[in-house]
């Protein structure tokens, strides 16, 4: 077969080039990684009718359907219209002009999430709901961004290895009268978290500097002396990445911010990207983009117009720690 296929265009349509010329893998978005199981029959149908009968649980939690032949792409796109509408338009309230031709862009990648407090006893919030709200801010945009949402500082969704990692934390409140001084919270904090609790005269004292906001103390407390403040708080980790050259773990940018702040900064992401990329939505890893702007400029632009809640903490500076598979990575020729 003689191929003349614009693979860039197909990639933007969420069909990824494969080893076999003329075959592609469709990546279907699942923002926040939870949807009704009924959608599986559609996924199965596409895989068995046009794909090679298999599906990959994409590393970004997409349904990835390999082995789709170029000539079937229109049919597939037509068939997945109902899925795109159900997920993007109905669940995420995304504004889309056209759902007939498949996904309009691959720019912002699927936002991954752990199951969060929909199920998990450690989860501090509903990760999927937040991911869906974020979807409305980032999709469909050609500017690249990868996000991951974790229900608690265990970070099962690896928020530390993505452009923006959002981690749910809880402000713990202590009821002195209800505490029986059993020390279970001390053990829990010691075993699972940051060792900030200790006992004094039969009650608990806390070094508030470094509470991870995990909620382990509340989970073990037999009397309900520790409870979570009902407001949901978040920690934002930025600039994590994998890659061949210099992977790195992300660093804390914001701590104890509210959902409004999250919406504000992610809402600013496109303008920030456009500015730094001179309005060309080329693929550049979020971490590299932040590096290109420099942390100070990034901070200024991403927090533009965002009202920080009084509990917020903002990183003054960030010291990245890269794994340098190529040495002298930050030393560049002058005129390049």
């Amino acid at each position: 077969m003689n191929h003349d296929i614009n693979i860039g265009k197909l990639q933007r349509n969420c069909f990824r080039q494969s080893k076999v010329p003329g075959e592609f893998m469709l990546q279907m978005r699942v923002p926040g990684a939870v949807i009704d199981a009924k959608h599986l029959s559609l996924v199965q149908h596409v895989a068995e009718t046009w794909g090679n009968g298999k599906f990959h649980i994409g590393t970004r939690q997409t349904f990835s359907l390999p082995g789709i032949k170029y000539e079937n792409i229109d049919a597939v796109n037509e068939y997945i219209k109902s899925y795109i509408e159900a997920i993007e338009v109905e669940l995420c309230d995304v504004e889309m002009d056209d759902t007939d031709k498949g996904y309009p862009t691959i720019g912002a990648r699927n936002t991954t999430a752990c199951i969060g407090n929909q199920h998990c006893i450690k989860g501090n919030f509903d990760t999927t709901s937040l991911a869906r709200k974020l979807e409305k801010l980032i999709f469909p945009s050609n500017y690249h961004i990868k996000m991951s949402v974790a229900g608690c500082p265990n970070d099962c969704s690896k928020a530390h290895f993505t452009d923006f990692g959002i981690i749910g934390i809880a402000k713990m409140e202590y009821d002195y009268g209800r505490c029986i001084g059993c020390g279970k919270c001390i053990d829990a904090c010691q075993g699972h978290a940051t060792r900030v609790l200790s006992k004094s005269q039969g009650k608990i004292i806390k070094d508030t500097c470094c509470c991870a906001g995990c909620g382990e103390c509340a989970t073990v407390c037999p009397t309900g002396a520790w409870t979570r403040n009902a407001t949901k708080f978040y920690r934002v980790i930025i600039g994590g990445r994998a890659g061949k050259q210099y992977p790195r773990m992300g660093k804390m940018f914001l701590n104890w911010v509210t959902e409004d702040v999250i919406m504000g900064i992610i809402g600013n992401w496109q303008d920030f990207s456009a500015e730094i990329l001179e309005h060309k939505p080329i693929y550049l890893h979020g971490g590299h983009l932040i590096d290109r702007a420099g942390y100070d400029r990034f901070k200024e632009m991403i927090l533009e117009g965002v009202e920080l809640n009084p509990e917020s903490e903002v990183a003054e500076r960030i010291y990245w720690a890269e794994t340098e598979y190529r040495a002298n990575i930050h030393v560049k020729p002058v005129n390049k």
Binding site: N117, Y176, I180, P222, A230
Partner: protein, 343 residues
């Protein structure tokens, strides 16, 4: 006499009552539960009958009103001490029958144990009157019938909650006046007559059998399962253990207070003595102790009834999903087996 009372009217009555009483009922603390986005239901003072959670079991029992989690007994300085004060208000507690019976068990422990009345308990307990709440549902962890604690006549008012109306039975004349202008109805409080959960109590007739029960293999199961957290005893309406200690105010090392704070027999350090020796060293030991205390020891000592009233909160609160009623049933099966072996 019984009356149909609107929520609005009841709130007016409540407002009047609050002049004389502190009124406690199980209320919802939104999102304050053990896990995120779960609620906590526990006793607190109410401002409206709308606050009363009548159709869900509270996580904690009403015992904390009379046997506070942290209670200051007296304050001391270098040369003198002064007993802690409580206010003059009387206390009204909304409770289900099992809890009222549970508080009767506490009375036995605090007021009749060793002919020694506990004054700190008594001074609060003497103020208490109960508002009986109808059990509209037999929750699946309740086993009050098996424990004979599904009924009580120790109440001043009995209430059946409805969407916008209450049926109120007034048993205590003190409260008649509040309802005189209300519509009289034919309402009598209905006690639960059946539980989904049935518990068979062990018959341990002699010390020999008791010794065998001590050595049962079943207890060892709990070494891996029970985490010694003490959630069960905190939730239990009849657990009464506390630790007394002196707290020294840091600004002046000679001034302070003596207080008592709840303790739990499930905690590792409960039996610890000076020198670090402890005589119940494993979760299995402690589980055995608690079980036998609730359905054997107490009755052996005080005669009439078992300590456990079957409210089932220990089961509800155990995050290791250890069911106390199932534990008792297992024990009874084992005792029956042992009995057969003897015969």
């Amino acid at each position: 006499m019984s009356y149909a009372v609107s929520i609005e009217k009841m709130d007016k009555v409540l407002k009047e009552l609050k002049k004389k009483y502190r009124v406690y009922a199980p209320i919802r603390f939104e999102k304050r539960g053990r896990y995120s986005d779960t609620d906590l239901i526990r006793y607190a003072e109410i401002d409206s009958v709308k606050d009363v959670v009548y159709n869900e079991k509270s996580d904690f029992s009403p015992k904390e009103v009379i046997h506070p989690i942290t209670q200051t007994l007296f304050h001391f300085t270098e040369y003198e001490y002064r007993e802690s004060q409580i206010d003059d208000k009387e206390i009204l507690i909304f409770a289900h029958p099992c809890d009222i019976n549970g508080i009767k068990r506490l009375d036995t422990i605090f007021l009749e144990n060793g002919n020694n009345e506990d004054v700190y308990y008594k001074r609060l307990r003497d103020k208490v009157k109960f508002v009986l709440m109808e059990c509209q549902e037999d929750w699946d962890t309740c086993f009050c019938i098996s424990m004979g604690s599904n009924q009580t006549d120790d109440y001043s008012l009995a209430i059946k909650f409805g969407e916008d109306q209450l049926s109120v039975e007034v048993k205590d004349n003190e409260f008649e006046g509040f309802f005189a202008s209300e519509e009289e109805i034919d309402f009598t409080y209905k006690f639960v007559t059946a539980n989904q959960e049935e518990v068979n109590l062990p018959k341990i007739d002699d010390k020999e059998m008791l010794k065998k029960v001590y050595d049962l293999k079943m207890w060892e199961d709990y070494n891996a399962r029970c985490k010694d957290c003490g959630a069960c005893t905190s939730a239990c309406v009849t657990c009464s253990c506390f630790t007394t200690s002196d707290v020294i105010y840091s600004e002046n090392g000679r001034v302070g207070e003596r207080r008592r704070v709840w303790a739990s027999c499930q905690h590792e350090d409960f039996t610890e003595m000076a020198g670090g020796h402890s005589f119940r060293n494993t979760p299995a030991d402690r589980m055995r102790f608690r079980t036998l205390h609730k359905v054997y020891d107490y009755k052996e000592r005080f005669g009439e009834e078992h300590m456990c009233v079957g409210c089932g909160r220990c089961t509800d609160r155990c995050n290791q999903l250890i069911s106390f009623s199932k534990t008792i049933n297992k024990l009874t099966e084992e005792v029956n087996r042992l009995q057969k072996e003897v015969n």
